[in-house]
């Protein structure tokens, strides 16, 4: 993935985001950051700390609680020459700005032929005592919108490389960060042009028996499950992190499914009409006859997210769930 000589540093997920923002704002003065509490406080979770002092009030702007106009700042700013990054504090708040995201940003090129270099950052998932209005996973909704790209990194290095690419991209990108991953560490390349391409999946672990497609917080859990399955059952699991949900790298996923004949999709969102549903549809359409067992979804149950952390964590799918799902597909041979 990265050149051998690239120096790396162990960083938390949020630090990867912060580095990407700093580097892109240093590189291109058209890049600005607007959002609630992104400036003086450095973000509700500290993701944007230090940016305002470095780049000033005009480029790092605290906004009032006005999500629709907040995204509009990005759409209009992009239309007159900026490359804005707007932050919607929690994914749950994005529906207040839905018109600007879906009807305006995503359609601008279609109407005008012009670029809309807008990045919308937001935070999804359980991980804190935040409850049913601050923890949801709606990534699939946005993947239904032509003109929009949807990115969902699962670790600090991908967060950095993908955010830098999103900022340099000429289309609107919804960039979904995951609350439960913010403190997670990974080695992150320290290089100004460390870019990861949008629309390209990462095969995190090679395997031959079962394909596990995992996103967001479930990637690490799928990798842990794969280790256990190897040791306890001798099952060889391939783990694919699509990283970009729209456009989806279906080729990488389907090539793997054709080889293994078994599919598990793991996500923090609930199952109905979800990312997992879409991957199933693709598999059925293109390689049904090569499937050796019915695919299995690993997802949160179709209930709201409770506030106490132990309850929220009990709701979220874990390593055991992935292990069980893989074993199910192996039994169905």
């Amino acid at each position: 993935m990265t050149a051998v000589e690239t120096p790396t540093r162990s960083l938390k997920f949020w630090q990867g985001i912060n580095q990407a923002l700093v580097e892109e704002m240093e590189r291109d003065e058209r890049v600005v950051l607007v959002g609630e509490d992104v400036g003086r406080p450095g973000g509700p979770y500290g993701v944007t700390r230090g940016l305002r002092d470095r780049f000033g009030d005009l480029r790092v702007r605290d906004t009032p609680i006005s999500e629709a106009v907040l995204v509009g700042l990005g759409v209009g700013g992009a239309a007159v020459g900026l490359r804005p990054v707007v932050e919607i504090m929690f994914f749950d708040f994005a529906m207040i700005a839905m018109d600007q995201i879906v009807n305006q940003a995503a359609k601008y090129r279609y109407f005008s032929g012009a670029s809309m270099p807008l990045t919308i950052r937001t935070m999804c998932g359980a991980g804190g005592p935040n409850g049913a209005q601050h923890s949801q996973n709606f990534e699939a909704w946005y993947c239904t919108v032509p003109g929009l790209k949807v990115v969902m990194p699962s670790n600090a290095a991908d967060a950095k490389g993908l955010l830098k690419s999103a900022i340099r991209d000429d289309d609107p990108v919804l960039f979904i960060e995951t609350l439960g991953l913010l403190p997670a560490r990974r080695e992150v390349p320290q290089e100004d042009d460390f870019l990861l391409p949008l629309g390209v999946a990462d095969t995190r672990r090679a395997g031959s028996d079962v394909t596990v497609v995992a996103i967001g917080r479930l990637v690490d859990r799928a990798l842990a499950a794969a280790e256990r399955l190897e040791q306890e059952d001798g099952i060889s699991v391939e783990v694919i992190d699509p990283r970009t949900l729209a456009p989806l790298d279906a080729e990488t996923i389907l090539a793997s499914v054709r080889r293994t004949g078994r599919l598990v999709v793991a996500q923090e969102a609930t199952s109905p009409f979800s990312f997992a549903s879409e991957v199933f549809a693709l598999a059925v359409e293109s390689c049904l006859s090569e499937l050796k067992a019915p695919p299995v979804r690993v997802a949160s149950p179709f209930v709201n997210v409770p506030t106490p952390v132990p309850l929220a964590e009990a709701r979220a799918p874990g390593v055991d769930d992935v292990v069980a799902a893989v074993r199910t597909t192996m039994r169905e041979a």
């Binding site: 106009v69 209009g76 239309a79 009807n103 279609y110 109407f111």
Partner: protein, 325 residues
Amino acid sequence: MAELKTPVAPATGSARTTSRGRYRLMRLSRRFEETAHEQFGDGQVPGPLHLSIGQEAVAVGGCAALRKTDAVLSTHRGHHHCLAKGAAPDRLMAELLGRTTGYSRGRGGSMHVAIPALGLLGTNGIVGGGIPIATGAAYGMQAQGRDDVTVCFFGEGATGAGVFGEALNVAALWRLPLIFVCENNQYVELTPQEIHVAGEIWRRGESYGIPGVRVDGNDVNAVADAVGDAVARARGGGGPTLVEAVTYRWFGHYAGDRAAYRDDDEVNAWRANDPLVRAGAALDPAERAALDAEVEKEISAALAFAQQSAVTGPEAIALDHYAAA
């Protein structure tokens, strides 16, 4: 309630274009829409058509002080804004007629025209949808240190949308170079403004510290003066202004709406207060006739251009969704 005096200075005159120019543009807009209306009647417009006939002074006056690099946000009723900001009548007509040479390849129609090169950042199918974008355009200009401004046109119906309050607040907090122009044509789709608007629109900015002014929206010079002063103030860092231009929608909400919900006397009284006739009164009849003839030629050419262009086919629908790889 405290009386809000109109705090903008009297017009300096520097922002004004000529009476000739204003009349010509209004006439162009009128004839453009009459022609489009005929085409609609002939089944040649494959989409809805919201006519701004009777409201031309708001667009022409509202854009009088603007440069190409200034931005305009328009609405579902926006042909007059497009033409006033410099859209070519032929390509706009082609868009309405669903032709490949239209601004959106004939796929969008009148509610989906955006011409960034002219600073026209979009008509809009969403009532109020342009207001956040206008705020962003004004922020972008400010962040880039430009002395450009953004004019945001919207109807009185859009003042009921939450984004209007959000935008007033942000524009005031940040002293954005943004002029809100409410084009009050007194009807919101099929119901009168009384159903929609409490209080007075021009005073909506008062508690934000945004100066407000109400003008005769059928007087192109009055609109140009009020907006021109606001533009000058915004260019100088003086922040936003809210202008309410009172006018009237001559036709139904959309082409085909017979507007049976209002009475003929009201309509006739407003038709007698024709902004185009009022603008033309400043010219001598021979000059006016010459301009009319010019406009007629331009409109015929625009229609011919559109009619001679290929009808947009299904092969165009997948284009322009993402940047070329």
